[in-house]
Assembly symmetry: D2
Homo-oligomer: 213 residues x 4
């Protein structure tokens, strides 16, 4: 990963062929130093050369309706048209409901009701693609998602913000953590936007950084 | 619209300045003839210079989850986080259910149940962004959507196909019709992909065009 | 323009239909206030609904090689394959050369030499697409370019920076000025990135804003 | 590569988690069969999950001005602003000139003239970014370029067409060959557009496929 980015950075400023730069024996520390300088100057195109792919499951359709709004990503998502739910569909419980026993019970019971209604429509001959109209935002879905490092940093900046919705924030956090485990140098870029800007540009700050007065 | 596209087409092949081409007095028929030749050759970039904007309402969240997968579009959509549903939420009834009195009644009653459950969670202090987890795919939504003509033709080619889901097919058909009323020359491009390819590339043809053997 | 952006902004937070919002009689000041708040929060997608088109001429091929790197734009550019240069080709003189009489003379004479060489190759039967290999970066070109307001702000932020190359900086400045004349509210966004960030993120500051220590 | 694409394809139609699909032991032939069916139906998004990176050198600035028009690619290119040419710059000779001894000699001599003129301007204190205005389209450049398989197929379809300019056609052909050596199943997709369409949509066919009458 580092070698490819380093080659991309060096190619812009060097008379040498990219393949020679790639095959040169620069040490890791030197590479990181250059990459850091380039990214700090906002020359993000150099990190587009690295694309990462995530296998995601157990997120709600609410969450993915937000996620697929990111247009520099590639998605392959479980279809509710072609995949019929058999038995109780999997679903997500928001923490505000999960931590209240009574509401949680009511929520789970209702998910059972919805599942039964869905099955009734299917058994009445309604195709899955129409029966799913009763399925809730809570319904769990799966997807394969790919994006380059520039887009990942952009998404982290937006979605790690406390104003971002809980579920997508958690999911993006997990995606970042998985990657940082393998590429620790990325950690400082995968932060909420206020850490990058130095101030909060939302209407009301969560307190991490102040609004500009 | 025509004048801008014509100027774009002519700029590629002319020694003259674009502004002079734009201000020249070419007649409509001549413009259409050139544009037609260019589009037929697949040089679609020339029609990217025209962007159109649609105000869309009364479509399901199912439909928009599909729609926002098109990445060359711009969207501003009603938020289920910030807009609380007051009273019965609006919803879409799929035709297969709408045309069966019994199923329709069952569907409508259940939408009422869901609405009540949503309100109960809201009244229990659950924020709208979490209460909406019980809202169904059927829930109506609104959005402003912009796209250029190249993307519109691409989307028409895909979504007017009989294999496309009923609701998004209907919506794209309406978008095309509204535009064709003002720009009739676009009609022949806003067709299912089989009409453009000359054959059906789906697994099973609907009969409009045959599969390649 | 304002009405479309305002409709897009309001659609996200309103239970009303976009078409009703569009047709409502909100006054300009109210619209500007909302738009300003939304853009300041970084929710740039709302201004993607406005696309603007520029007819550009008398810029060098150097300049356009840089310009066409912006991937959220649409371009139709004069072709050096299909448009043969007749007589002396038009060319750009960089200011550092233009302001020195002796160097300017040498430059102009050499452009004449290049033109003659180009014509000799053409007369020897070499097709324009190959004869143009001798044409210099200085060669003037024309193009039609379209982009939405989000991309225009992004480009202004990058290309109005003093580190940006003189010619593209001048061109982007002219594009911004033409637009600001018609839409003065845009002026405060069409600025070098340091004005947006509050600091300079280039290696060496030009002095307008300091580097972060 | 195959396993990722296969997982993406299967995820759309399966109730199973993507990670389980990825870890399942499906044989290569079965994977290829599914992938082939999906691509043939035009569902190209599944192959966006694979991005490939090329180190390219010894192509002309003419060629890269065309190449960087592809907007679904990432580029890092040798800068003529920051990298000063020392001694004779490298350049490309078009085949129509290369195969004629007399014209070739004239071309090479003129490249020497240009180089001398460039050096004179540099020695007169003109910065590299302005001196390069005399450098020709023929000047060799280097770049790192990344793109996903969908874009590569799209580019192959366009640029392997006989109407495409010789140099970019040759370059894209080499890119495809290098990749096909490692992934032979891709060969049938990396073809000129007429092979995909079944007919030629250019103004005049080269004879490989006929125009539609």
């Amino acid at each position: 990963m580092l070698k490819t980015i380093y080659t991309a950075c060096r190619t812009c400023y060097s008379a040498d062929y990219p393949i020679n730069i790639y095959n040169s024996t620069d040490d890791k520390e030197k590479m990181l130093k250059l990459i850091d300088r380039i990214i700090s100057s906002g020359h993000f195109s150099t990190i587009e050369h690295i694309q990462v792919t995530f296998a995601i499951s157990n997120v709600s359709r609410s969450c993915t309706h937000q996620l697929v709004r990111h247009r520099h990503m590639s998605f392959s998502q479980k279809s509710q048209r072609y995949v019929k739910e058999k038995g109780q569909f999997d679903y997500i419980i928001p923490p505000t409901i999960d931590q209240n026993e009574e509401l949680k019970k009511k929520y789970q019971d209702f998910m059972k009701d919805i599942s039964e209604k869905y099955q009734e429509f299917v058994e009445s001959g309604i195709p899955a693609e129409d029966a799913r109209f009763v399925l809730p935002n809570a319904t769990a879905t799966s997807l394969v998602a790919s994006l380059n490092l520039r887009e990942l940093i952009h998404i982290a900046n937006l979605r790690l913000c406390s104003r971002s919705q809980y579920e997508i924030r958690t999911m993006v956090k997990m995606m970042c953590e998985v990657l940082v485990k393998e590429e620790p140098w990325l950690e400082k870029y995968l932060v909420p936007k206020c850490k990058r800007l130095g101030f909060c540009n939302e209407d009301k700050s969560c307190g991490r950084k102040s609004n500009l007065s």
